[in-house]
């Protein structure tokens, strides 16, 4: 069976959830082979987990250059690997860096590229949701192999234990790959909350939250639900919450099992980032707010009364 390359998203020695989703998806097209691109020693702690989700092989490309420079080295190593193993498809996480690697790969191989893919059929036909969640598109790469970036949280990961063989990959780079030096990496992630795009539950606050101070209320509910915290553009533009947590047209697209919108009116720019959530719940004092058109359950009311009561109720039940 032909190999399907899955580029592993990992952080701090752990495999990110989207990787398990991609390994699951890869099995419909062939035999999953995980590709670890990272610093020295980065593949070993990931191997067991990758095997658990069906990776028959783990290609390990390890070099300080892969993390010391932006994107270029990863794309070059991956292109070389694709040329040598001729996989049935290449799956990459639809994250900022994932898309960038995929873009460079597409040019290097003169190959078509599909991004933000939600599903992939055995014949390589990809499903994408576009235009703020309003349109479903089926598309295909018509030149080269199916090269797709997979949107986090689109597939339910299912285990399929395998014992992966680890194959070291040579890292051959030129100066042209090392044009952008990474000077520093600064973590700003708050506490132990799940990552926004990967979370099963997202609790977001909007203009109605009123202040940075009041966002504690949003965080409190999020923590009770084991959720990530998001914010509307109105909230981030007003400085209530940091920009990297913005959900919407100019921020992150999320697709959790549950999306809780607090004090968010639901402008199309926001809906673009959360419309494909499985269940949507909203609290807003304006009964006419468009968010209620999407909500499976909506409460018209003062969120400063509704949320503390809800938090109390959840505590009682747990």
């Amino acid at each position: 069976m032909a190999e399907v390359l899955v580029v592993v998203e990992h952080s701090g020695g752990a495999v990110k959830k989207v990787t398990m989703e991609m390994l699951t998806l890869a099995r419909t097209l062939g035999e999953p082979a995980a590709v670890v691109l990272g610093g020295p020693g980065s593949a070993a702690p990931l191997t067991d987990r990758l095997g658990e989700y069906g990776a028959a092989k783990v290609y390990a490309a390890e070099s300080d250059d892969l993390i010391g420079y932006l994107v270029g080295p990863k794309a070059t190593v991956l292109a070389e690997l694709v040329r040598s193993v001729s996989p049935a498809a290449v799956l990459i996480g639809s994250t900022q860096e994932g898309k960038e690697i995929a873009g460079r790969l597409a040019v290097k191989l003169d190959n078509g590229l599909l991004t933000d893919v939600a599903d992939l059929a055995a014949d390589g036909t990809a499903t994408q949701v576009v235009f703020a969640g309003s349109t479903i598109v089926k598309s295909k790469v018509t030149r080269g192999l199916p090269l797709v970036t997979v949107r986090p949280n689109s597939v339910t990961p299912s285990p399929a234990p395998a014992t992966p063989a680890v194959a070291p990959v040579e890292v051959n780079l030129t100066d042209a790959d090392k044009l952008v030096r990474v000077v520093d990496r600064v973590a700003e992630q708050k506490g132990s909350r799940p990552e926004l795009t990967e979370a099963s539950i997202v609790v977001s606050g909007g203009r109605g939250v009123g202040s940075a101070e009041n966002f504690k209320l949003v965080e409190e509910l999020a923590d009770l639900l084991g959720a990530a915290v998001g914010a509307s553009r109105a909230a981030t533009d007003s400085g209530f919450y940091p920009h990297q947590f913005q959900v919407g047209q100019t921020g992150k697209t999320v697709s959790p099992q549950l999306y809780v919108a607090l004090g968010i009116s639901g402008a199309i720019q926001h809906r673009a980032g959360m419309q494909t959530s499985k269940t949507i719940v909203a609290v807003n004092k304006d009964a006419e707010a468009p968010i209620f058109e999407l909500a499976d359950f909506g409460v018209v009311g003062d969120l400063f009364k509704v949320i503390p009561q809800a938090a109390e109720e959840i505590r009682k039940r747990s």
């Binding site: 960038e100 040019v107 590229l113 235009f131 309003s134 479903i136 018509t142 044009l179 639900l225 999407l294």
Partner: protein
């Protein structure tokens, strides 16, 4: 420092958008077309750099005839001139082909710096700066929330999932920006008047040494097989809080097994 800003005309993301039923390309005729919002931040950043370091700012657009309106709007903010790559053959171009055209056009302008929005609101693909950089063999510093220029060295604070990275490279380079980088200016009356006289050069694909079958629907590396409107979400239960709204909310979450 000579700067090229990539500007794309897109259907207004605040309005209904659609694919054309005949060839499944973005319908640009029915929609209200505007400058891609993120590109306004790229224009602003270019103008700020011009104010500090001198040089010329050129707007570069690939798009149909009607994109002229967006080019004029862009020029109203202050750039000196524009290049419009316009050709029937370009209709329906994929990202790979688009990057080929834009890279060729950038090459004719030979700038120190190319600025772009981090993504367009229609495709949201986010790959163009890296694709162009790959073709030109120049550095790509993408997703900038802050850009510093010191002689020939560029330093960017790049937004990431976990926080941010500080990345640095030498010019020539391409930098893409998010809306956190600045606050775009509104065109002044003087700017609006001046824009009418600013030169807009048009180029065909042949002018760029590219053959028509490498671009457009014919040269596309991917294709849309079919598309359908997603069924609109149905509004569910809406209750007005009369003292037990929070409890009712949790009741719903419990029934759905979230708590």
């Amino acid at each position: 420092m000579n700067i090229v800003v990539l500007v794309k005309q897109v259907p207004d993301s605040g309005a209904e958008r659609a694919l054309r039923p005949d060839d499944q390309t973005v319908d640009r005729s029915a929609a209200n077309n505007v400058i891609n919002e993120m590109d306004e931040y790229a224009i602003e950043e270019a103008l700020k750099l011009q104010e500090a370091h001198g040089g010329e700012v050129t707007v570069l657009t690939m798009g149909p005839e009607q994109a002229t309106e967006s080019i004029r709007k862009a020029l109203q903010m202050g750039p000196d001139k524009a290049v419009h790559v316009v050709d029937e053959a370009l209709h329906g171009s994929c990202a790979v082909a688009t990057s080929k055209v834009l890279a060729a056009a950038v090459r004719t302008l030979n700038p120190d710096l190319v600025l772009a929005g981090a993504e367009s609101t229609d495709g949201r693909v986010q790959v163009m700066p890296h694709m162009i950089a790959e073709r030109l063999g120049i550095a790509a510093l993408t997703g900038a929330r802050k850009l510093t220029v010191d002689g020939g060295t560029l330093t960017v604070e790049r937004q990431t999932e976990e926080g941010y990275e500080v990345v640095a490279a030498a010019t020539p380079a391409i930098v893409s920006v998010w809306d956190t980088i600045n606050e775009p200016r509104y065109p002044s009356l003087k700017g609006i008047m001046a824009a009418k006289k600013k030169p807009v050069q048009t180029l065909s694909v042949a002018d760029l040494g590219i053959s028509a079958d490498e671009v457009g629907v014919a040269g596309a590396t991917s294709t849309v097989v079919e598309s359908a409107k997603r069924p609109p979400r149905q509004a569910g239960t809406k209750v007005t809080d009369s003292g037990d709204g929070g409890a009712q909310l949790v009741e719903f979450l419990a029934a759905e097994r979230f708590v």
